[in-house]
């Protein structure tokens, strides 16, 4: 059994990726490296995810009641090797806890320890959550941060001030802390493969894509902490970065257009490291023992 860990904060696109991947493996209607060899004993969670995805509905955030450990029995089309992938589809909050409270659910901690590879998700469609006030001053000017006269009412300012809440720490901090515990005592350090998935790649501005910005370049500028952490610890993390649009567009805005796609697998887009246009299994295959 090969264990892969799908990790990411809430709303980072983990479940949508799993739903789309499941469909690609079953449908086998576009060029893809892996195919589904057989169904596992428990398919309920995957069935629900795939149905929602096929209906072009927004996949609801994973909740405690809808968490599941997904098992995919796949075959590599090139080597014909059979593999069972065990992938947890957990709510994003579980991945926040190491950074927020210094604790991790024991089964997730065990999965992290055993994982042969990690798919780490970050959503391109979210605001900068670590913006500095100084940076805002650069953009708008200090006067614009006060009221119309440029004055700041101290009482109102004090009331508006939000105290530190660990749950609101930036996503990158939570991701880095989660990766750090994989090599922190009591676990022994070892080198792992990590595929960083920039989800909602379709929302990355047309300008950036026209300029040929790769997912790896996007990560370096938009997630500098994570990018530096991975690069500085290259002895522990062998990494690749992919840009993925597992939904194919933004819902509910693009629902009608997505429904019209004749082969649903073609909704999926992935870029990076020579992956075929719709082949979501490319990062998985790279992390598997057969990847050589």
């Amino acid at each position: 059994m090969t264990s892969l860990l799908v990790a990411g904060m809430p709303n980072s696109g983990k479940s949508t990726f799993i739903a789309a991947l499941r469909h690609l493996l079953v449908a086998n209607e576009v060029p893809i490296d892996l195919c589904l060899a057989e169904l596992s004993e428990s398919e309920g969670h995957l069935n629900r995810l795939e149905n929602t995805w096929l209906d072009c509905e927004i996949i609801e955030r994973t909740k405690p009641a809808t968490e599941g450990w997904v098992e995919l029995r796949v075959q590599d089309k090139n080597t014909l090797a059979l593999l069972t992938l065990r992938i947890p589809d957990l709510r994003g909050e579980a991945f926040e806890q190491p950074a927020c409270i210094g604790q991790c659910e024991t089964d997730l901690f065990a999965a992290l320890s055993e994982a042969n590879g990690i798919l780490l998700f970050t959503n391109a469609d979210r605001e900068d959550d670590s913006l500095l006030i100084d940076d805002l001053v650069d953009i708008f000017g200090s006067d614009d941060l006060g009221d119309a006269d440029g004055e700041v009412d101290p009482l109102a300012a004090e009331e508006a001030e939000k105290s530190f809440n660990p749950e609101e720490m930036p996503e990158e901090v939570k991701l880095v802390e989660f990766l750090q515990i994989a090599n922190r005592r009591p676990l022994a350090s070892r080198r792992r493969k990590i595929a960083i998935i920039v989800s909602a790649w379709d929302v990355v501005s047309a300008n950036e894509r026209n300029e040929g910005v790769t997912a790896a370049q996007w990560i370096e500028t938009r997630r500098p902490m994570l990018a530096q952490f991975i690069a500085a610890n290259a002895d522990l993390w062998e990494s690749r970065v992919y840009g993925v649009s597992a939904q194919g567009g933004k819902l509910p805005r693009d629902k009608t257009a997505l429904k019209k796609v004749r082969r649903p697998s073609e909704r999926v887009q992935i870029i990076g490291h020579g992956a075929e246009e719709h082949d979501l299994s490319a990062p998985l295959r790279w992390m598997l023992p057969i990847a050589n």
């Binding site: 210094g102 089964d107 006030i133 100084d134 700041v152 901090v173 690069a231």
Partner: protein, 350 residues
């Protein structure tokens, strides 16, 4: 029962989550939806406030009432003396002891180095990790837009706060190195000047590879004599406690951004350099103080930019000569036959 009343009688089973009492669900769910929310009696409410008992042998906490077992993954937001010591024994690293009175800008300086580093704004360095990410985030919070403030600030280190350390793993041209910064309330330094011998008990200064003495430049400009005297007394106390030997010493001028105009900045920089020379002279030439001017904040658009922190990091991470250790050559008074045989070996070893 009203909804308000319901909130009061509800608690959360997840350690670290304030639940309905705090108004924030760690699971990000509504309280009606979250399975970890429970109705609690008054007695149970008291229990929820107590820290969870951790099985030290396994590091595991007992199963949560919801059935979720939790594993401890970090010791706390910052490092205490023991955890810092354990980290240094495991990985080695540079210890930076920071000496400064209240509101001298210690925490702001530490936090800004972290902010610049993880944003890739320190040329030649890159972020390689930290064992105290939450500690840094707490320190940086008031400088972030997320705090809803109009101007950046730093929470003061309270007087009652114990000595703590923050940690950074820094990627350099030659590899990764670990740095820990001490963070101690400024009042501790004010108080210790009344009983200077107690400075020997400041563990971070005993262990430090680098000692930074912080001087507020705006106060140096206005109250030069007071600041100079204060700094001299601190350095005298450190010398008397033998805390200066073989250490990199920097006199760091902070808050350069508060100085109005280039003339004032030049004049104050000159005063700082003179003070550094004075301290070097008073230390008998064995300990060399170098002055460094820094600004950790920008006050307005087009105003002073953050500066001096890269140079500070350069100094902190400069290659240091390894301490030499030589075994004394001891020869037994009455040599046995075995001693005679061993003597040439001892001679080469010592």
């Amino acid at each position: 029962m009203s909804e308000e009343m319901d909130q009061v009688t509800l608690g959360c089973k997840v350690p670290g989550c304030g639940g309905p009492k705090s108004g924030v669900c760690i699971n990000g769910l509504s309280f009606g939806e979250c399975p970890d929310v429970v109705t609690i009696s008054d007695e149970a409410e008291v229990d929820l406030e107590k820290p969870t008992v951790i099985d030290e042998s396994t590091g595991n906490e007992p199963s949560a009432p919801s059935g979720r077992s939790m594993t401890r993954t970090a010791d706390g937001p910052s490092l205490n003396g023991a955890s810092c010591d354990a980290l240094l024994r495991q990985r080695g690293g540079t210890v930076v002891g920071i000496v400064a009175g209240p509101e001298a800008g210690k925490t702001t300086m530490i936090a800004t180095i972290y902010e610049l580093l993880h944003r890739g704004r320190l040329d030649g360095y890159r972020f390689g990790g930290s064992e105290t990410l939450r500690g840094y985030e707490e320190r940086c919070h008031l400088a972030r837009v997320a705090s809803n403030r109009n101007c950046p600030d730093t929470a003061r280190t309270p007087t009652h706060a114990k000595l703590s350390f923050t940690h950074l793993r820094v990627g350099t041209a030659t590899g990764i190195t670990d740095v820990v910064f001490s963070d101690r309330s400024g009042e501790h330094f004010d108080n210790v000047l009344d009983q200077p011998a107690q400075l020997a008990e400041f563990a971070e200064l005993v262990r430090a590879d680098v000692i930074l003495i912080l001087v507020e430049l705006d106060r140096l400009a206005e109250h030069a004599h007071v600041i100079t005297s204060y700094t001299r007394r601190l350095v005298m106390a450190m010398r008397q406690c033998d805390l200066l030997q073989d250490k990199i010493l920097r006199l760091v001028g902070t808050k350069a951004d508060l100085l109005e105009g280039q003339d004032v900045l030049d004049e104050t920089t000159s005063s700082l350099s003179s003070l550094a020379e004075d301290l070097t002279r008073r230390a008998g030439g064995n300990s060399i103080f170098k002055a460094l001017v820094t600004a950790s904040r920008r006050r307005s658009r087009g105003g002073h930019v953050v500066h001096g922190l890269k140079e500070l990091l350069d100094d902190i991470l400069q290659p240091r000569a390894q301490a030499t250790f030589r075994l004394p050559k001891l020869v037994p008074k009455k040599m046995t036959e075995m001693d005679s045989l061993m003597f040439p070996y001892w001679a080469t070893r010592t």
